[in-house]
């Protein structure tokens, strides 16, 4: 049921996202930095907010005029800062909601990720409270409309004693003291928003909270141009003796207000609360269960802490050793937050196929997919390859992962496939092992799209291991020209086919090992 919703949406999203890969490149693709972009917009709003605050007058009579003079009397900077403040806030709504939708569609919100998703829900409330609270401060007609409607909406709860809306009945009723409270709220709520954002990512190891530089610069240029072309301006001054008839609503923040006018406060509370609870409960509808958590083998773990460094979910901790072996520490897995991705296995120095035992006992291993099985699967795949191929077509072994390009039907006379939970589980020594045996001429590693690994760091670590930047790295004796990668989503089959063809041609033109020796 859930998959029936997610998969078609995923296809659309991946298609759309693919278009962005061309001009931006996979590293800058904005759709893969939505959380970081939201953070970035927050900082832009914060900095421009401080500037606007310096010139703001906290009084019912002075606020409007102070914002007007900021907009019109300051050569550029004031007007731009005000526009930055508004447009970055709007952009934050957009990136936040696409971020939320993307995590849902890509099924990255259940299981160990529930906490991150769950803590996203209060963020939405705080985001709205921050934005709407900002519009009140301008004290123009839009502020008047939003203020009174907000007060009436809150009054429906009848928890404030005297209705809040009474503060805005007449010009005399609205006191400076109330205005100071509004300003205080507009500083306090965004601060809570920031705290909530940090809580949101606290359980993510190495969260990407800053967008790549190129994306940040591009975004700032965009905001500047928009601010110059269409500066943020006020409506006419508020007048509590008069009804507001026309408002140029900021639909990103004020979308609920027309609904309030149509359906009333009760209905809107019902919608807002039901929707929030529904979204908050999604990680359990249904719950995502992973395979058994990774296991540490005391006798084989030497406490090198590579698995601790590589686990993308912070499930590994290093503990003091009590078994008397001559290493100070030992790895320990928290089964509640382990996704059984196997990335830790790929990082463990003991995980090598070269050992002769039938059972490969590693420092850390996946109970449902042991390294022994990976070696057996690899051997079986190699056995399916003929010793010599007609016309000298190169023999290729492909490693596929459970979440990336679909490698299922790709096998042919000279191409065999082995799958594993995440490409990050593959210790580079396996590549050495295969090419040493001379049963295959090339190894092709596949996984999710670049920068978008389902298990977060599988691709990144693999790239670094191949290039020798990260332990365990691919040994120097391995001919690198016989190892290719192809990163892509489930829908990127055509790309894989093309890559296989290109790889074959490339391999065919390489000298064989005997030729190389001569």
């Amino acid at each position: 049921m859930l998959k029936n919703i997610q998969l078609p949406l995923q296809a659309v999203l991946l298609k759309f996202e693919g278009w962005f890969d061309n001009p931006f490149g996979p590293e800058w693709n904005p759709l893969r930095h939505l959380g970081a972009l939201s953070f970035f917009f927050f900082w832009v709003v914060a900095v421009s907010g401080v500037y606007v605050y310096i010139f703001f007058e906290t009084s019912v009579s002075g606020a409007f005029q102070s914002v007007e003079s900021l907009t019109h009397d300051q050569p550029y900077i004031g007007g731009i800062m005000r526009s930055f403040h508004r447009y970055a806030s709007d952009a934050m709504v957009v990136t936040t909601f696409i971020h939320l939708a993307r995590e849902f569609v890509m099924d990255r919100y259940r299981g160990v990720r529930w906490f991150t998703w769950f803590t996203g829900v209060p963020i939405i409330w705080l985001l709205y409270a921050s934005g709407i609270g900002g519009y009140w401060l301008v004290w123009d007609e839009l502020a008047q409309y939003l203020m009174i409607a907000s007060a009436e909406w809150l009054d429906w709860l009848s928890i404030f004693g005297e209705p809040l809306a009474n503060n805005f009945l007449t010009p005399e009723a609205f006191k400076d003291r109330m205005f100071s409270l509004l300003l205080f709220l507009h500083i306090a709520i965004p601060l809570f928003l920031l705290i909530a954002c940090f809580i949101h990512v606290v359980k993510i190891s190495r969260p990407r909270i800053n967008p790549p530089k190129g994306l940040a610069i591009g975004t700032l240029i965009m905001l500047t141009v928009l601010s110059l072309v269409k500066p943020a301006v006020s409506h006419g001054p508020a007048n509590l003796d008069k009804v507001v008839v026309n408002v140029e609503l900021d639909w990103f923040y004020a979308i609920a207000y027309p609904l309030f006018d149509m359906w009333g406060a009760g209905a809107l509370w019902l919608i807002a609360l039901t929707l929030s609870i529904f979204i908050a409960c999604l990680p359990w509808m249904p719950k995502l269960t992973f395979q058994e958590a990774a296991e540490v083998d005391n006798l084989n773990c030497n406490g090198c802490s590579r698995c601790y460094a590589d686990c993308p979910f912070g499930a590994v901790t290093m503990q003091p050793r009590t078994d008397g072996r001559p290493y100070p520490r030992i790895a320990q897995v928290d089964p509640d937050i382990c996704t059984s991705c196997g990335i830790c296995v790929g990082s463990c120095p003991t995980a090598t196929p070269f050992r002769s035992q039938e059972m490969l006992i590693t420092g850390i291993d996946l109970p449902h997919f042991r390294l022994t099985k990976l070696r057996a699967d690899t051997d079986a795949s190699l056995d399916r390859l003929p010793d010599v191929l007609p016309e000298g077509a190169p023999r290729i072994i492909i490693y596929g992962c459970d979440h990336g390009i679909d490698v299922d039907k790709i096998e042919s006379a000279n191409v065999v496939v082995t799958s594993l939970p995440c490409i990050g589980m593959l210790p580079p020594s396996f590549i050495d092992y295969i090419l040493m045996k001379e049963k295959a001429d090339g190894v092709l590693l596949t996984g999710c799209r670049e920068g978008d690994c389902y298990h977060r760091f599988g691709i990144h670590w693999t790239e670094q291991r191949l290039s020798g930047e990260r332990d365990p790295y691919l040994r120097k004796r391995v001919p690198k020209e016989r190892v290719w990668t192809c990163w892509g989503a489930v829908t990127d089959n055509a790309k894989l086919k093309q890559q296989i063809d290109d790889f074959s041609t490339h391999l065919k033109n390489l000298p064989t090992s005997q030729e190389a020796a001569e």
């Binding site: 409607a149 004693g161 639909w251």
Partner: protein, 167 residues
């Protein structure tokens, strides 16, 4: 060449984003209120009468209480709900009873309502009942008022003057 195309492509993406933000941050214009109309706001917070009058306490009831805490009168705090009726141009537009606020029903009854009306002269009549309707209205108000388009008029209660007012 490819670099230029990439920059163009990125520019296009930023342009689309900026257009969406720039447009929906102020458009389409919304009309929360029909032009040519005026608004009457009824906002009254008023305490109903006590349900029971105070009674003198029996002397034996006081015996166990320290002298400083003794009260001679027993005043149950619960109040009557308040009812307000509003007629505009002879038509009853509002007739509601509101419970006293507060956990022990001893606070004020709260009313806050909006009534859009056509601009022009209107006859406004208000009746406020502090207790049961059968006792009759405790406060009454009637006045012809002229409202221009967009005007907001407030029907309220002035506790010092003890009267319903119109502003």
């Amino acid at each position: 060449m490819k670099r230029i195309l990439n920059i163009l492509g990125q520019g296009l993406a930023y342009l689309a984003f900026a257009l969406v933000i720039g447009y929906f941050s102020s458009q389409p214009t919304y009309h929360p209120f029909e032009a040519g109309q005026a608004l009457v706001k009824l906002s009254i917070s008023h305490a109903g009468q006590r349900k029971q009058a105070c009674t003198e306490r029996a002397v034996d009831h006081q015996r166990n209480i320290p002298t400083t805490a003794r009260k001679l009168m027993d005043c149950p705090r619960e109040r009557h709900p308040v009812t307000i009726k509003l007629m505009i141009d002879g038509k009853a537009v509002f007739d509601a009873t509101s419970k006293p606020s507060g956990l022990s029903n001893d606070g004020r009854s709260l009313f806050y309502h909006r009534f859009p009306v056509k601009s022009g002269t209107h006859e406004i009549k208000v009746q406020l009942f502090e207790a049961e309707i059968s006792q009759g209205a405790h406060y009454k108000f009637a006045q012809n008022i002229e409202l221009k388009a967009g005007d907001i008029a407030v029907v309220g209660f002035n506790p010092t003057a003890k009267a319903i007012f119109f502003k």
